[in-house]
Symmetry: C2
Subunit: 226 residues, 2 copies
């Protein structure tokens, strides 16, 4: 089955308080986004990698690829106004009539192991989808009609990426109007009728969105197995 | 109204992969637990500070206090087998017939601002309790009867500490048998009939439980206002 990766790097950098979009910030010796792409190609050089970037950042990305002699082949697709639109643009860029599976992944989530990618792709191929998640470490409460109540955290999981799906299924799922409840791709698939299959992620699989996350990422990088 | 703080430092250090219990690990120039205690005394020197420690760590803590010339007065109470028992021991150590409020706080959560402590104590005095929480950044799913479904994350909040309560109320609430649903003190108070009042925490108010958290904490320390 053909395998694709849609790596969504839509951040403008404002939450980071930096001029540089967060996916271009340096982690170790390269921009974060390069680390993320390397994980996929390091797992398998047969994966078709699609990187979704804001249109105005594409030239800069190409300059960075030259500067760092980054030679992993990938397709660049311009993003949309929201994450939903960006993923949708990535999906629309794929023309494949065979059975294929696509893993949708955050560009600023560079610590995905080969084992995790193997599990995501093969589970999605067998079961239709595979969504990476971890248990909740903190207590949570639910707010409804002005009241809040404790909820059983053992019955809840936090979603990460990659979230992998059969291409035909997820493409159809994204052909709807965006809803505020679509906070991840699994929610879009579920709205289209999919039964979501959760697989185990890792607490190291962080999403880098603040300057403090970047410090944490440097610490994880030191121990992360390539 | 008299103000108390119960700072729970029950960790054995196993999750850290360190010999040293995590509350004694060095952050900046002092053990984490000293930073946490300093936040309370820095906010107000009138707060009665109770530190709950595993019995076998008390001598070591006293040695650390000597070594670091740590001169903030506090009471030391031996912990129990679980966090619930440790908090309960802390509560039982208080004898106060006046109206009093107690903030229960994690010993390994050193980044609490004066403003947050002010808000927690005054809100608890006015409303009976105040529990610090932040919005969920990630998508979550609920698992029930072998099925999982998306839940609206905007309707959920993650709990942090401090969690402040009227002393009489929370003491009574802890006089029950422990339940697996008591993942925080708010859940104990709620089980006793309290309506929980949520106040805003901060993403910097992290709980240090892994070596990577410690790296993140060093980064936050650099920008944290004393």
């Amino acid at each position: 089955m053909n395998r694709y990766a849609i790596i969504v790097a839509g951040g403008s950098g404002t939450r980071m308080g930096a001029e540089i979009p967060k996916q271009f910030l340096s982690l170790g010796n390269a921009p974060i986004l390069m680390h993320t792409i390397k994980r996929f190609s390091g797992f398998s050089d047969k994966i078709h990698i699609i990187v979704v970037l804001p249109a105005e950042q594409i030239d800069r990305w190409k300059q960075l690829c030259s500067k760092y002699q980054f030679n992993i082949p990938h397709l660049i697709v311009p993003g949309g106004k929201t994450r939903f639109e960006s993923v949708h643009n990535g999906l629309k860029s794929i023309q494949d009539n065979d059975k294929a599976v696509v893993a949708i992944h955050d560009g600023v989530r560079p610590f995905i192991s080969k084992q995790l990618l193997m599990n995501a792709y093969t589970s999605a191929e067998q079961l239709g989808n595979a969504v990476v998640s971890v248990p909740l470490k903190d207590s949570i409460r639910k707010i409804e009609k002005g009241k809040n109540t404790a909820v059983d955290r053992s019955m809840h999981r936090i979603m990460q990426t990659p979230q992998a799906f059969l291409l035909s299924m997820i493409t159809k799922a994204f052909s709807v109007e965006e809803s505020p409840l679509f906070t991840d791709d699994a929610a879009v698939a579920e709205a289209a009728g999919a039964k979501i299959n959760l697989i185990d992620g890792s607490y190291e699989n962080i999403k880098i969105t603040t300057p403090e996350d970047l410090a944490l990422a440097e610490a994880i990088l030191k121990k992360f197995e390539f």
